[in-house]
């Protein structure tokens, strides 16, 4: 037998029966659709549960992280405040108040400083030194002044990592401190060192009593700088070198300045130039 195409067609068509029941097929399809929907809902439910649990976990982790940051940001000022308190003994008003923002250190009466201890730093971390109970003062040889007795030498001869600005009242009462660290600290020193300002011809009462405690990048404490105020000008000295800069240079760091009252005709001993 060698089948032709017609024979093949006939053979294939032989035995055709009735078709399937449409209602049965519809019932099967509806069941299948329901089953798929249930399966899809289960999967979506599982995915949703995973997302919710993950979200809650992330939320908790973030909340803990924020709390930790707040705790870290709040502890440093308190610690510094405690140091300040211990340094000045029982003197003066509260300096420990801090809103925990900005990383500032010290009293509540002085606004925070950007780039404080919790700010970014490219230098090795070092603990800011404690402020002395009274401001550092130097008796400049021969009355001091620009270009006299080595006054033009560098205020700080090493790269600095931290500058602690200790603030005092006119009666030498400790008020608080500010810490400037990282690149901002070095920039401040560079700015002051580069100043060619001469002492102002008009003098005022020295109502600005501040001390800057520099810490080198290697962690060593450097010679403290005494900061005193004249009219809109600040004198910064390490006992030998001296610089005069506009008071805004310091004030923008500490955030506020002690009031300076001009007193014409009064001078601190140095001849006007």
């Amino acid at each position: 037998m060698s089948p032709s195409e017609d024979q093949l067609r006939a053979a294939l068509r032989d035995g055709e029966g009735p078709g399937p029941d449409a209602n049965h097929l519809i019932g099967l399809a509806v069941d299948l659709r329901r089953e798929r929907r249930v399966r899809r809902n289960r999967v979506l439910g599982a995915v949703g549960a995973v997302v919710v649990v993950g979200g809650v976990a992330i939320g908790i982790a973030k909340t803990n992280g924020i709390n930790n940051e707040n705790a870290a940001g709040g502890m440093a000022p308190k610690a510094a405040g405690s140091q300040a308190n211990s340094a000045r003994g029982a003197a003066t008003t509260s300096t420990n108040q801090n809103d925990g923002t900005g990383g500032g250190v010290g009293g509540a009466d002085v606004p925070s400083v950007a780039g404080g201890p919790s700010g970014g730093s490219n230098y090795a971390e070092s603990k800011p030194p404690a402020c002395p109970s009274t401001p550092v003062r130097y008796a400049l040889p021969g009355g001091g002044g620009t270009d006299q007795f080595g006054a033009s030498s560098a205020l700080v001869d090493k790269p600095v990592s931290t500058l602690t600005f200790c603030l005092y009242s006119a009666s030498d009462a400790y008020l608080g401190s500010r810490v400037l660290d990282g690149a901002a600290a070095q920039q401040f020193i560079d700015r002051v060192n580069a100043s060619t300002d001469k002492v102002a011809s008009t003098f005022c009462a020295e109502e600005r009593n501040q001390t800057i405690l520099p810490v080198a990048t290697d962690g060593s404490d450097l010679t403290a700088l005494a900061v005193t105020g004249t009219c809109h000008q600040v004198e910064i000295t390490n006992g030998t070198a001296v610089r005069y800069v506009p008071d805004a240079v310091v004030d923008q760091v500490i955030g506020a300045s002690a009031p300076v009252t001009p007193t014409p005709g009064l001078n601190d001993g140095s001849p006007p130039r």
Partner: protein, 158 residues
């Protein structure tokens, strides 16, 4: 559902042909019923989105059949003795038609699909190629090879 009536009409019109094609594809009465049921259920679920229901049903059927033969737990195992074709026992006499259908069961699934689509469903080579998702040339060569094999087998039997 609004389209149930249209689906019922489609099944009444084409169900018998599809079911018989499924039997020919599987070589088994019950597996053929299962196959057409699977294909038509899929068609129902996509009824609103299908433009050519008959072509879709054929393609679903052939795809499901070829797919099932790929699975070892479901596929056919080669044997020297061809299985009995359901319904053939009802015939007291084995004639040429029965013989051809028995020989059809010895073809590979894809060859069988080509023969069924071409000679039972009367599809053109292009339509067969589209349904099977293969080039027209492959359909031609597969069909030619299947017919040659059927002739050889029929000659040996005859």
């Amino acid at each position: 559902m609004a389209d149930d009536a249209a689906f019922r009409a489609f099944v009444e019109t084409n169900g018998a042909v599809l079911q018989h094609a499924a039997r020919l594809l599987t070589g088994d009465h019950h597996r053929g019923e299962d196959l057409v049921q699977t294909a038509l259920t899929r068609l129902y679920l996509k009824w609103d989105r299908v433009d050519a229901p008959l072509a879709y049903a054929r393609k679903a059927m052939v795809t499901a059949h070829i797919d099932s033969t790929r699975r070892k737990w479901w596929g056919e195992r080669p044997t020297e003795v061809l299985p009995e074709v359901a319904g053939s026992n009802e015939m007291s006499e084995i004639d040429e038609r029965d013989e051809l259908r028995r020989l059809l069961g010895g073809l590979a699934p894809r060859e069988r699909a080509v023969v069924v689509l071409r000679y039972y469903c009367d599809l053109s080579e292009q339509e067969t190629a589209h349904t099977l998702g293969m080039p027209v040339g492959t359909v031609k060569s597969t069909c030619s090879r299947a017919l040659a094999r059927l002739r050889v087998e029929a000659g040996v039997v005859g």
